[in-house]
Symmetry: C2
Subunit: 479 residues, 2 copies
Amino acid sequence: MFVNTMPRYEILSADAIGVLDRGWRRIVSEIGIQFAKPEAVELFAKAGQRVDGDVVFLDPEFVLEQVAKAPREFDVQARNPAHNVHIGGDHMVFSAVYGCPFIREGDVRRDATLRDFHQLCMLSQGYDELDSAGGVICEPNDAPLDSRHLDMIYALQTLTDKIYMGNVVSGPNAADTIAMTSILFGGRSFIEQTPATISLINCNSPLRWDDRMLDAQFEYCAAAQPVVLTPFLLMGAMSPVTIPAALTQQLAEALSGIALAQLIRPGCPVIFGSFLSNIDMQSGSPSFGTPESALGLLCTGQLARHYGLPFRTGGGLNSSQTPDAQSAYEALMTLLPTFLAGTNFVMHAAGWLEGGLVSCYEKFIIDIELLRELRVEFTPLEISEESLAFGAHSEVGHGGHFLGAAHTMERFRSCFYRPMLSSTANFERWLKLGGKDTAARASDIWRAKVAAYEPPPLDDAIRAELADFVTRRRRELGD
Amino acid sequence: MFVNTMPRYEILSADAIGVLDRGWRRIVSEIGIQFAKPEAVELFAKAGQRVDGDVVFLDPEFVLEQVAKAPREFDVQARNPAHNVHIGGDHMVFSAVYGCPFIREGDVRRDATLRDFHQLCMLSQGYDELDSAGGVICEPNDAPLDSRHLDMIYALQTLTDKIYMGNVVSGPNAADTIAMTSILFGGRSFIEQTPATISLINCNSPLRWDDRMLDAQFEYCAAAQPVVLTPFLLMGAMSPVTIPAALTQQLAEALSGIALAQLIRPGCPVIFGSFLSNIDMQSGSPSFGTPESALGLLCTGQLARHYGLPFRTGGGLNSSQTPDAQSAYEALMTLLPTFLAGTNFVMHAAGWLEGGLVSCYEKFIIDIELLRELRVEFTPLEISEESLAFGAHSEVGHGGHFLGAAHTMERFRSCFYRPMLSSTANFERWLKLGGKDTAARASDIWRAKVAAYEPPPLDDAIRAELADFVTRRRRELGD
């Protein structure tokens, strides 16, 4: 977990925030939000909100009253307490890519498998820059469809000792996640006290929350497990083509989902979610790492703080087909603003390729390098009389060099960021080392990391209980 | 020329600036600055500064009095008035890579030639994102050494109609630049009134200004042509290994050079220069695009503003050997802070590869794409009632899409950044298009751009006079 005590980069004036604030109020009260689950509509109706079919017309003041019940900051526990995280404030929590059906490994692009899922768990466990492997790091296409959520949760629980994300495909899948988490943490009461999962609830934007996602939300909120209420906005398709319009829609959707969370269980921890980019208006394809998405990201952080909520946005997003220059500059075009905004929860922080269709091993390593660098870049300088090293100048004088100065010798091991992936080798040496480009070097690194993986210790009885649960539920699900 | 009206990202407290301010004062007064040119030492002595051999011990208040004579902002004229630039304030001026002995073109790395120089001029002329081709875009190794500055200036003057940088290898080379610029602009008095060149004067850091660079500075300052006084700091080699120490050294060096400029010609336009990165302490090689260099860059901007000076820093710097992922993320790790700092003059903004040893055509195109994106990213949002597109929401409703909405149809051509290089093609279509990675696509783009080049119009008499000058001076120089 990284604590970002650098200044936030804020680009919205108070007037602009006022305009956006009026915008979402108008949407929720005049157009309303659709909730495709009768229990949700009922909760709103009981709380005095006007309802027409499955559309709820919300009083903005009521929404803000509910939002105010959500904690500004909260903890999430990992089974290794050293990996507990804090969500909110200056804290930044990072998880790997989520939801990819395909894998890229070197020059090969293919369906993802359970073995990939396991390997990506190992990599996520192995790098301190990630606080979580996330949830669906890739889609294990070779595992039976109806029960693969069990395989994924079991892998996240046993191959990593970090926090993990819950399955959201259905209410029963969410219940299974909660049951398995209860086993791992010694009972449901322990995870209701301090949550142990975070789950992604996407809006079917514009202005509609779907039944299966809501089923999952009901389970998680009832168990006091945090949900990331995330408008899914590709401007031009799921929202209008202007950033301010997308931002007001994002507020309307996220705040309505957060209000529902508080109706299900007042005080339930939530995260204001944002997944905001645009489509390429020529091809209709999603674009990532765009200037528009960076601007949206910076505004999102400022708005979340305005409403007193921890927030999720950013990641190593890109549209590129291979881990090439585009994949890197688009990823950083999002990741650097992710830090500038002080994002509290970052999904897709490692491994994302090809618009999120592909989980790429080499890109995973590239992103870890970026996270390592950004952690240094967003650590405030210590500026004191002593840091000026006046003595070194006295020692070296005019036109000399500092390579052998006492000040240098005392600090040379730790004074600068030491790259894991980047090469500073001169051309001849680089050729001698094989003339490998960044992707080729990344390939060597992830393979060595997986080979060196050691599983974190886990009590045998708990492991057995989890395995039994998986076996029993798989049978019940008919797989 | 780009006008950056977004907020500056400032990370130094007033206290920190105070510490750094005391730091440079101590260096210039107690250790002093070495000026390897008697005329420079004499100017300082005459102005009452204490001198010991070629070391000048400067009174900080005297330095600041001189610095205050430099204009905060100034214009530089191009032969095409549409390409005039303004240096200072919110203005950002970009020029291409500078000083590379080698060229990379696809998979080939080789000595740079005059043909490369010409082609890089054509590319710089062709992209609006560059205000200047710069100066030594690459070293034309096949042109005679003593007179190649004439070939370069002639190419910059005739193949582009933008501002260009002067040669600084020697005083006579600077005089030739000024003479040729006087021909192009109709006489020396015209360029003394509004300068037409910018020249890079590097410090031989630490704390020494060398004779040949000073010879050039004397020529340019006497002609009222702006100089970029640039400490050349690779921390660990030319400066201590702490960023605050490098920043105070940078202030001591740059401000002393600026003071000299004002003694040569009071009111002479100057740019506070910064070239600040670090060496890799394991290999001893220079590192670029590092977190340390980004932090130094952000501080540099804030400090230059503190002393009321336009400043130069940033660019597409990287250490990578090929235009791969590393080249892209290191470039953006510098370019994005370049915009965050509101840098007034940016060298190396396109084409830099391999620590500046290589001018790379494909990287040139990658950098142009980054500059295009960053110009959009650093354009403030217009947030008004109308921008919220409430009507589009009314039209689309819940769970629909905005692809055919009236609001979208009216704006789809211009609403989002349109990539020149980045691909959003889905995997099948990308394969069908040849499965080209970013570098391969960049190669297609620069070749097409060079092929489509059209020279800007130039009066025949002036062209002939310039050519005559080159012929005559080459003869005089014995080449």
